[in-house]
């Protein structure tokens, strides 16, 4: 059974629609990446989606959390993912970031990076950033240090031992600080922030990482309407340069940002389309939106 499904995976891998074989990859890409690149793998999204999930299944103690989920995120896209509680949205993010390993299925970043084989930190370095459903920050560090730690640089042991902040890096931190509106709390310990402030800080850390893909799990939970608007603004401005995947239950928020919406239900995709399409989808109304 198991080996069969493994084989299936292999076959599927070869037949993927965006597949480019290694020998066809243009070598130059490596040089384009720049000199201080720390990735062993380089991202190649030139031939299709930047994030690619196919037939991903995950089960916990026999409970099927993801059920043959397929999802494709294009470069620069802003995608909203909605769906009932327990539909598997967070689990999907877990799978992408390497926290949970899928039982079967393919998860690719670009065309060459098999995320199921990579460690969490490698996935992060490769360019996938994530904000958790429950804000997770470094409680004993100041806001500034939180941002500093998240900053995109060499994250090897030796480098961190001897590195000092350059003035560009400092500027960048200041900049993000301004965006998340915590400049007054710059030196405050992060665990003293309120729930909403922590949400912002985590978003800030995400920005510092400058990832190719941002996975944002319920960013506006605990925010006021106006903060919500600001978040929406921020996320839309990020799209284009980055791919952004947002999970959110707040329909107003989703409406304000989304072009494409995917609805998950019981571990697989129920509907996909523009907000209007989805909103009028009878099934979606039934399981999720209500009248």
């Amino acid at each position: 059974m198991n080996s069969f499904s493994q084989m299936q995976d292999k076959v599927r891998d070869v037949l993927r629609r965006d597949r480019t074989f290694n020998h066809t990859i243009v070598e130059e890409n490596i040089f384009l990446q720049g000199t201080h690149s720390v990735h062993h793998n380089t991202l190649d999204a030139s031939h299709g989606p930047v994030l690619y999930l196919e037939d991903v299944s995950v089960s916990f103690d026999g409970f099927q959390a993801l059920n043959k989920l397929s999802l494709y995120i294009d470069d620069g896209e802003l995608r909203c993912i909605i769906g009932p509680n327990g539909a598997g949205k967070t689990t999907m993010m877990d799978v992408i970031t390497g926290k949970t390993r899928p039982d079967t299925g393919l998860v690719y970043f670009g065309q060459t990076m098999d995320l199921t084989q990579m460690a969490e930190h490698d996935i992060a370095i490769a360019g996938i950033g994530r904000k958790f459903q429950k804000p997770t920050i470094f409680p004993e560090h100041s806001v500034w240090e939180n941002l500093e730690l998240a900053m995109k640089t060499d994250k090897g042991v030796w480098h961190t031992l001897f590195t000092v902040l350059t003035s560009e890096q400092k500027d960048r931190i200041e900049e993000v600080m301004l965006i998340i509106g915590l400049q007054e709390l710059c030196y405050a310990r992060a665990d003293l922030l309120s729930h909403g402030q922590k949400q912002w800080l985590e978003i800030g850390m995400l920005l510092m990482q400058d990832p190719r893909v941002l996975l944002v799990d319920e960013p506006v939970a605990g925010m006021t309407h106006q903060e919500m608007d600001r978040t929406a603004e921020l996320l839309t401005s990020l799209a284009g340069k980055h791919s952004v995947v947002v999970v959110e239950h707040d329909m107003d928020f989703v409406r304000s940002i989304a072009s494409q919406v995917t609805v998950l239900h019981e571990g697989s995709v129920l509907a996909e389309g523009t907000m209007d399409e989805v909103q009028n989808n009878q099934k979606v109304i039934e399981v999720y939106l209500g009248e």
Binding site: F60, D61, K99, F132, K134, T136
Partner: protein
């Protein structure tokens, strides 16, 4: 009455019967000349001479000679310092009643100072026992015959052959008859007649009695060149076959035995760890004083025994609730006094309880003594359950095994099925939320810690039967206890059970191969490697919340 004999029952019976005999036959004094001559010779210092006298004494075919030998065996044969006359004594309160060895008439009541024991040594006692056994091999009472035969089996010599054959003829009890056959075969292996030898070898081959193996090995001795000393081919092959048979049986039994040893070590570990699986596993208190709570339980056993010196058998039963209460109260006091202030700072509990463990140790040293204290093993806990000569398991271990399982089951019940259990687990998981749900966390904490500590105390009662009771008792078990709990998976009682048993059995199966120290080291290394595979123990906490997120 006190007996030196290990085989209490045997001793009792013998005395009883002999006393009956004495009073029934009413020995007359006149034909006691031989006895009168021999008795004083028992006082010589030299044991070789003493043994000779004892042998002569045994040859005198009178009940009184048996009485004297019994008395000597039980260290009740004394002489009076004043006139060097030999007497049999009976302790009465703080004084001694003395009887004449010739006719058992009471002579008087004396102080300890005026009399002196006639000393015996191992060899002398063994000789007496064998001599007595020979006399009783045809006794009318079955259990006396059995005991006598058992004695003879350990040291039969050729001269006994006719006695044994006679006894076999008269024997009605089947198993006794089989044993007699074996005893005879043990002698007949050395017979001159090859056919007798062959049948004897066959009989030996069917027995797992250790001496049977020894005898066969003797038959198969080789000289320096490596060839058999024994000339007869048939005998050699027969012996080899028989020996093989024995060995295969023995290895089966020794595996069984090892398994049991493992389970029993496992149950000791379980007992030691189980209280910790509550205080540490459920409550998250890294309780370094756990060992000392076990120690307090053991000391309670001692004190209970001191309080009821005449009911040692019962004392242990009384000690169980007593130890539970004592250690439990100490536990509650520790919780109220110290741990209460440290919730949410689990690592700090390690430090404070370490301090407490020092205090408790020193407290025992100061209040009781730095020395170990004697805890007596009641008779129902000593000895072993003999399945056959190659496989016996000791009672204390059996009791402890079941006792451990019982304690385990009880705790399991409390935690899983009672409201207290629910509260305990809720508090352990999320203290502030539990309060908000109206759970009296302080009360639950005290009770839980008391429960875990009380169970540690109960473990102390059991351990007092296996090892020293002294101020250091706890330290010997604390590390193992933590290993067990962690190996099983913190917060999982089943894990603790399985872990304890696994560690016990692994240890015991390794021990014959590599010795006691290495097996322990290997088990530890195994543990370290195992944890790589299962970073949260055998039975990790499941669910998404357990990932630290």
């Amino acid at each position: 009455m006190k007996f030196i004999s290990q085989k209490n029952n045997l001793g009792l019976h013998l005395i009883y019967i002999i006393l009956c005999l004495i009073f029934a036959t009413n020995v007359s004094a006149e034909n006691n000349a031989d006895l009168e001559k021999l008795i004083p010779q028992l006082q010589v210092k030299n044991f070789k001479k003493k043994i000779a006298s004892v042998k002569q004494l045994a040859e005198i075919n009178k009940p009184q000679s048996i009485t004297i030998l019994e008395a000597l065996l039980d260290s009740r044969l004394y002489y009076q310092k004043a006139d060097k006359s030999v007497v049999i004594i009976q302790k009465k309160d703080h004084k001694y009643e003395i009887f004449s060895p010739l006719d058992n008439t009471k002579i008087g009541l004396v102080e300890k100072k005026t009399i002196k024991k006639i000393t015996t040594n191992n060899k002398l006692r063994k000789t007496i026992r064998t001599l007595l056994a020979q006399k009783k091999i045809s006794h009318t009472e079955l259990n006396i015959r059995q005991a006598a035969l058992k004695e003879i089996l350990t040291s039969s010599d050729a001269s006994l052959l006719p006695v044994l054959q006679q006894a076999k003829k008269n024997e009605s009890d089947e198993s006794q008859k089989d044993l007699l056959t074996l005893a005879i075969a043990l002698i007949e292996v050395d017979s001159k007649d090859n056919s007798i030898r062959l049948s004897a070898i066959k009989i030996l081959g069917n027995s797992v009695f250790p001496r049977a193996k020894g005898k066969l090995e003797q038959v198969l001795l080789t000289n320096d060149q490596g060839s058999f000393i024994e000339q007869d081919k048939d005998i050699i092959t027969a012996s080899q076959k028989a020996l093989k048979r024995i060995n295969s049986k023995l290895s089966l039994f020794s595996n069984l035995e090892t398994l049991f040893f493992g389970l029993s070590l496992g149950s000791v570990l379980l007992l030691a760890a189980i209280g910790l699986s509550i205080t540490f596993g459920v409550m998250g208190v890294i309780n370094m004083a756990h060992g000392e709570l076990i120690m307090l339980g053991a000391y309670t056993t001692y004190l209970v025994q001191q309080a009821m010196p005449n009911d040692i058998g019962l004392s242990l039963i009384v000690a169980i609730p007593a130890a539970f209460i004592v250690s439990g109260l100490f536990g509650i006091a520790i919780e109220r006094g110290v741990i209460r202030h440290l919730y949410g700072r689990p690592l700090e509990t390690l430090l404070a309880t370490f301090g407490i463990s020092l205090l408790l140790q020193q407290m025992v040293r100061t209040l009781i003594s730095a020395q170990n204290v004697p805890v007596i093993t009641p008779s129902w806990l000593s000895g072993s359950l003999v399945f056959n000569p190659a496989f016996a398991i000791t009672y204390n271990r059996i009791y402890i095994f079941f006792f451990a399982l019982m304690v385990f089951a009880l705790l399991m019940l409390i935690l899983k099925k009672t409201s207290l259990g629910l509260q305990v687990r809720a508090v352990a998981k999320n203290r502030s939320m539990a309060t908000a749900m109206g759970i009296k966390t302080q009360w639950v904490d005290s009770l839980t810690f008391g429960l875990g500590s009380g169970v540690a105390g109960v473990a102390g009662v059991a351990l007092s039967q296996l090892t020293n009771v002294g101020p250091n008792l706890g330290q010997a078990y604390i590390i193992d206890s933590f290993m067990v709990v962690v190996f099983g998976g913190v917060e999982n009682l089943w894990g603790t059970l399985v872990a304890a048993m696994t560690l016990g059995i692994t240890n015991k199966f390794l021990e014959p191969w590599v010795g006691a120290v290495m097996s322990k080291i290997i088990v530890l290394i195994f543990l370290i490697i195992f944890i790589q595979k299962r970073p949260n123990g055998l039975f990790p906490q499941k669910g998404r919340s357990s990932g630290g997120h």
